[in-house]
Amino acid sequence: MKKKNLGIRLKKYWPFYIMALPGLIYFFINCYIPMSGLILAFEKYSVSGGIFGSKKIGLQNFKFLFSNADAWIMTRNTLLYNLTFIVLGLVISITTAFLLHELKSNLSRKVYQTVILFPSLLSVIIVSYLVNAILAGDTGFINNHILIPLGLEPISFYSEKKWWPFILTFVHFWQMTGTSCILYLANISAIDTSLYEAASIDGAGRLQSFFKITIPCIIPTIVTLTILAVGKIFNSDFGLFYQVPMNSGAIIDVTQTIDTYVYRGLLNTSNLGMTAAAGFYQSVVGFCLVFFTNMLVKKISKENAMF
């Protein structure tokens, strides 16, 4: 039955398959061919041997990821930050998108959207200096213009751990909300307005129509984006966790993620095998997580699953 379908589909829709071909070829060249380089994760790389001819050493490269006291800390940080980003991100970006959509004036909507989007165009290096200008101990805005005039003790942010979970979360959303709410905004704009009209005739308020119409209509997008985000839960935004805290050692317990650990550990040794092993590990875990999240979604509501 299925085979027949494929044959019929090919015959019937062949122009579409041809249209998809360039994309598929691109995908193949860019994503599948380089995968052969994963073999590096199992080798002790040497220049004369090259990528495929170096000495195979089995799983030794993976050892450095797990055989240390900080393995727990960096895994915990990576997971907790990402979970926070996913959950809070959903709330913040959907709310922002909805509020933007509710603006009736086209001009003010454009202005607000640009203002929200702007931080994501800044390089993380610039962001880190902006943060530094606010937090620095001797010259920073908070210490010099708020705490000291109020007669309070200045805070040395770059050596106190307790502030950083909040600072990093704030910086993340300040920077990323603009881009993440675009998708939702497009989705919300595409909802048939007659649904809202009908609801308001029936006496539904703004909030009611938000929960009863908007949310159900964008659930497929929410699910897809969340599954994709879950797949990256073992990866972290390197710039955010390394540059924004200015690589300060005293707060490493709350800023160390798997990516920064790998970077710090390999900065001096430039060991290609270990780097490849770390990336490989993150991808495998990410793949499994996508797979299981999707299975879970399938169980709950079949039509919303990605595959």
Binding site: Y32, I33, S46, S156, S248, S270
Partner: protein, 501 residues
């Protein structure tokens, strides 16, 4: 269903086949192209039977807009003398450190590689060609210039790198603003400073008199640790050092030593008293930039016979130094040149390096460009920019050179540099470990973990932001857990073997 799986399998297999094909086809294609290129080259150059082309990558802080014209002149010399054509690929220093690993990976077109900050990474990746025989055959001028200091490029008795001929003997020292000292009438007091403790009253006086000038800053910002250039011989990576600067060969744990605790205490004291910034551990600018803007007074750094002169001219403010102890010839060798192990022209590379070391004309060309176009020689026999030109408007000034001591000196350099350098290098005490290179292969995992422990504590402790009474024991415990004892034992064993014990 089964058929679909079979189809899929076939697709996968085809894919891997293609992937393999692509690679090998590429390689096969490359070779004939190269040879055909070469044959046309040979046909062109009737005067020499065969010209080998090599590529050398160097970092620079200078200009290289006119590099094609300069290379033409360079190649006239190299073609005639050694039958080699060389292409220089300079990168700005900032870019360099990002590109270095990539260039080392062996996938780029590189024959000779400059290594800043040691070459052990290159070696452990198998990127360094064994140069021992080539050096003896084609490198006589290099051997004559460097003598015993060639050991700085040796591992297990084989020559893998050619160190540049620079000041080998140095020690940790204070680098400070001489004009500020003179202005505050502290000149005599500074002349009597022997230790870091003696330095405190000076800092106090500067803090009092110059509120906008931070009395103490880190040398290069947070990119290197505060005690990077210590009084000890760091044997390559600070995990296990020779504490007395290499008088004996006992490898000890630096971080547990009294000396280290003493330094951390001083820094903590200075930070508490406000001689250094509260944010010193996230300092981004180096001492040079800060003091140019009168924002910093002193720092700790590597000092040798030329530091005072060099810093004064490069910073543009009067600089003074206090060396904390005698200068010692170290294991540590910062800048070396290596030949990539996958090069097709090993002989040509060595011939070129040797010529670069010894040929005045070649040295000048590569350093300063073409005489009359990019520089002129003044009455004192020193090179300077053309009238009306400066570092920004001159179109070529690479500056990079394998320590070509025969080339003319730039006008801002010490006129007696070569003589002083030779004197300093030949008279200095040498560490017993001079020429020892630590092979980290068996302890890579430990070192990766130790580096992470260091990232957490080292800067904080060495800048005095962390209280050593509380954090130094914590740091040492973390180092122990990460396996520092194993690394030190391995280092001791290798050093003993090197010394023939």
């Amino acid at each position: 269903m089964k058929k679909i799986t079979a189809l899929l399998m076939m697709a996968v297999m085809l894919v891997s086949l293609f992937a393999g094909c692509g690679k090998s086809a590429q390689k096969n294609n490359e070779k004939p192209e190269n040879t055909s290129e070469k044959t046309t080259e040979v046909a062109k150059n009737t005067e020499s039977a065969k010209v080998e082309k090599i590529k050398i990558w160097v970092p620079t802080s200078g200009k290289y807009d006119d590099i094609d014209a300069v290379m033409e002149k360079v190649n006239e010399i190299t073609r005639a003398k050694i039958g080699v054509e060389v292409e220089f690929c300079p990168l700005q220093f900032g870019q360099w450190f990002g590109q270095y690993s990539l260039l080392l990976s062996g996938t780029e077109d590189v024959d000779i590689m400059a290594n800043y900050g040691g070459y052990l990474n290159a070696y452990s990746q198998g990127a360094c060609l064994d140069l021992t025989d080539l050096l003896n055959e084609y490198g006589q001028d290099i051997i004559a210039t460097e003598g015993e200091y060639l050991k700085g490029g040796m591992i297990d008795g084989r020559q893998y790198a050619i160190p540049i001929y620079a000041a080998y003997a140095w020690n940790m020292g204070l680098i400070y603003r001489q004009d500020v000292v003179d202005e505050l009438g502290l000149t005599d007091q500074v002349a009597n400073v022997k230790t870091l403790e003696d330095w405190e009253p000076i800092l106090a006086a500067v803090k009092e008199a110059k509120p906008d000038m931070t009395p103490y800053v880190m040398n290069t910002g947070a990119t290197a640790s505060n005690f990077q250039y210590g009084t000890w011989d760091d044997l390559g990576n600070n995990y296990g050092v020779l504490l007395d600067g290499g008088k004996t060969s006992e490898v000890v744990n630096l971080f547990e030593s009294d000396e280290y605790a003493r330094l951390c205490k001083i820094m903590y004291d200075w930070n508490q008293k406000g001689y250094s910034s509260k944010d010193i551990q996230t300092q981004t600018d180096g001492f040079g930039t800060l003091t140019q803007n009168d924002a910093a007074f002193s720092t700790l750094g590597q000092t040798d016979f030329n530091t005072k002169f060099y810093q004064t001219t490069s910073i543009g403010k009067p600089i003074g130094i206090v060396m904390l102890g005698d200068a010692v010839g170290r294991t540590y060798n910062n800048v070396t040149y290596t030949v990539m192990s996958n090069t097709k022209h090993p002989e040509a590379c060595m011939k070129f390096l040797n010529l670069w070391f010894s040929d005045i004309e070649l040295g000048n060309l590569i350093k300063y460009g073409i005489e009359g176009t990019h520089y002129v020689v003044n009455g004192d026999g020193m090179a300077e920019y053309l009238e009306g030109q400066d570092a920004n408007s001159c179109t070529y000034h690479l500056g990079a050179s394998v320590s070509n001591t025969v080339a003319i000196r730039w006008v801002t350099e010490n006129p007696d540099y070569v003589k002083l350098l030779n004197d300093a290098n030949s008279s200095a005490r040498r560490s017993v470990a001079l020429g020892f290179a630590f092979n980290t292969d068996s302890v890579t995992n430990e070192i990766t973990q130790l580096d992470n422990v260091r990232a957490k504590y080292q800067t904080g402790l060495e800048t005095g932001v962390m209280d050593p009474d509380q954090y130094l024991p914590e740091f040492n415990k973390a180092l122990k857990d990460a396996g520092i004892d194993k690394v030190i034992a391995e280092k001791q064993a290798q050093l003993d073997a090197y010394l023939g014990k």
